[in-house]
Amino acid sequence: MLACLVNPQAVAIEVVTHHQVTDLSLTKSQLRRIYTMRQLYWSDNSTISVFVLPNQHELHQRFSKERLQIFPYQLNRIWHKLTYSGLGVAPTVVGSEQELIQAVINTPGAIGYIDDATLSKIEQSQDENVSTMKVRSQKASVIEKEQKSSKGVVNVVKIKG
């Protein structure tokens, strides 16, 4: 069911959003603007909630370099300035990949990233409807049944350019 959502280029890290987010593709610049907190709203004017893993997490390091093409220390500089000078709000840091995907599933307007392998696991567990993803399964599967098109537990966003 989710398989059709996986980017056919099969890159190692996917950008995911809350299932109600209507922007199903973003340009590379838009993704950078979102993660550097220069774009705060989706195209339907709903607030973007940005989630990240800790700075030293391997997936965060790879996401930063490969998808944003910004070095992790540059993101830190931008986010620290926002957080500790009162200028704005930085992304929410969560402890693990599991927490990150839960946050994206549960938060309207959320954006996050996920390892391809983890996404496949979710996809499998979703297909088998196993209880390992219990926390979200009830709500999510209902939504899935209602919206069988491109809407799953999360949207996998296509990054252009």
Partner: protein, 428 residues
């Protein structure tokens, strides 16, 4: 000897912690409104059990403690002993009231010995109005106490892990001026424009003033100044430009401020007269961020005028200039090395300070006319939120020591001085 030192240091740290807790009272009053917001929010969070509320309310902070040893100046203390007066603690909150309005505040407790007044202060407490947001534009208006965001490191100067070194280049980030320069009470604005073709532009403007305590007055002017100093206004603007997909960023900033000194009068033994001071400061800066190398630098010119103070009718008009160049190298994911050179003189017509020495009949030695600093440092990121840092400074000149206007030439009796510092930093 060493154990005695340890005991002394431990006692100092304990008294520091004690001081911090007594300053908590001040803190709780200052951001009580935010804590109240938290209470409401927790209730809401329990109902909805989602992350959306954690997005609306955020709490962050940091704790840093270090040791610093200065040899040959009164930069940290008068006796030249190893000191634990290197404490920085901060707590901030941000609460999104509506989609357009946000409350934010930060309280910091600082102890840096002679560098600045010891104690807690409100770093910022503001309401942020998001006046315009489109895909490319963001316009924000800040009302209240806001931070100076105009210079390269002005907003991160007392955020230990966000600045490049424990002690920043003193010619720009002079600790003696910290409380005046770090922010103002007033209005500020930020206009950001992001374009795929031209890159990112950030324009900021601020207008306000800072209250000055008596301790700051003696720090900046003289230990003998018994009167009160007021900042009339402080106007600043800055523009930053990062070309599209570039590793470079360029900035410039302008500052204009005036101060008034009200003498306590000769009856109360104030040796100084009523005075007006004015200060203008212009900077250009550049930042390069590569995968391994990072380069940054600022060049600046300042103009400082005095009308009065020493005696009614006294006039001084000095133009000072300086720069620093800094390089950081990422040896690994966890280790970053730092090297920096800084050169500054207070009067461009008297770079070696000799004229000043003559004019004061030898009372102010020539080396009070400049400040040069070679710094080497190392930062070790132990985890994503915990770092250790160490650095060594070779300094020539006493141009950036307090008090400024009437210097302490007895303790600062040598042209060259050195310091080293280590600091542990935790943040969340």
């Amino acid at each position: 000897m060493l154990s005695k030192l340890k005991v002394k240091t431990a006692v100092t740290i304990l008294s520091r912690i004690n001081n911090f807790f007594s300053s908590i009272a001040c803190f709780s009053r200052s951001i009580a409104f935010l804590l109240a917001a938290l209470t409401v929010n927790i209730a809401q969070a329990q109902e909805t059990n989602t992350y959306s509320t954690s997005q609306d309310f955020q709490l962050h902070g940091f704790v840093a403690q270090g040791l610093i040893d200065v040899d040959g100046s009164d930069f940290v203390n008068d006796d030249g002993e190893l000191s634990a007066e290197l404490t920085e603690i901060g707590l901030n909150a941000s609460y999104q009231l509506t989609s357009k309005f946000r409350l934010a505040g930060q309280v910091v407790y600082l102890d840096g010995g002679n560098r600045y007044a010891q104690g807690a202060r409100v770093d910022y407490a503001l309401i942020d109005w998001s006046a315009l947001t489109t895909e490319n534009w963001q316009v924000n208006i800040y009302l209240g106490r806001f931070k100076n965001n105009h210079w390269l490191y002005s907003s991160s100067r007392d955020i230990p892990f966000a600045r490049p070194s424990i002690i920043l280049p003193q010619s720009v980030y002079f600790d003696g001026f910290r409380d005046i320069a770090v922010g103002s009470d007033g209005i500020a604005s930020k206009v950001s424009y992001s374009s795929d073709s031209y890159g990112n532009f950030d324009w900021q403007f601020s207008y306000g003033s800072s209250p000055l305590s008596d301790e700051q007055t003696t720090n900046v002017l003289s230990e003998l100044a018994q009167g009160t100093t007021e900042q009339d206004y402080d106007t600043q603007t800055s523009l930053y430009w990062q070309p599209a997909f570039s590793s470079w960023r360029f900035g410039l900033s302008l500052l204009d401020a005036t101060f008034t000194y009200d003498s306590a009068g000769q009856g109360i033994n104030d040796a100084f007269a009523d005075s007006d001071f004015s200060f203008q400061f212009y900077t250009l800066n550049a930042l390069y961020e590569g995968e391994k190398w990072e380069f940054s630098g600022e060049v600046y010119q300042q103009r400082f005028t005095i009308d009065g103070f020493y005696y009614p009718g006294f006039e001084l008009d000095n133009i000072g200039q300086g720069y620093y160049l800094q390089s950081r190298y990422k040896l690994s994911d966890k280790i970053t090395l730092l090297a920096r050179y800084e050169d500054f003189y207070l009067n461009k017509d008297d770079k070696d300070g000799k004229k000043q020495e003559q004019n004061t009949g030898g009372l102010v030695p020539y080396y009070f006319g400049f400040h040069k600093d070679i710094t080497l440092g190392l930062n070790y990121d132990i985890t994503s939120n915990f770092s250790a840092r160490m650095e060594y400074h070779w300094v020539r000149g006493a141009g950036r020591l307090t008090p400024v206007v009437v210097p302490n030439t007895q303790i600062n009796d040598s042209e060259d001085w050195q310091m080293w510092a280590v600091q542990l930093m935790y943040w969340f």
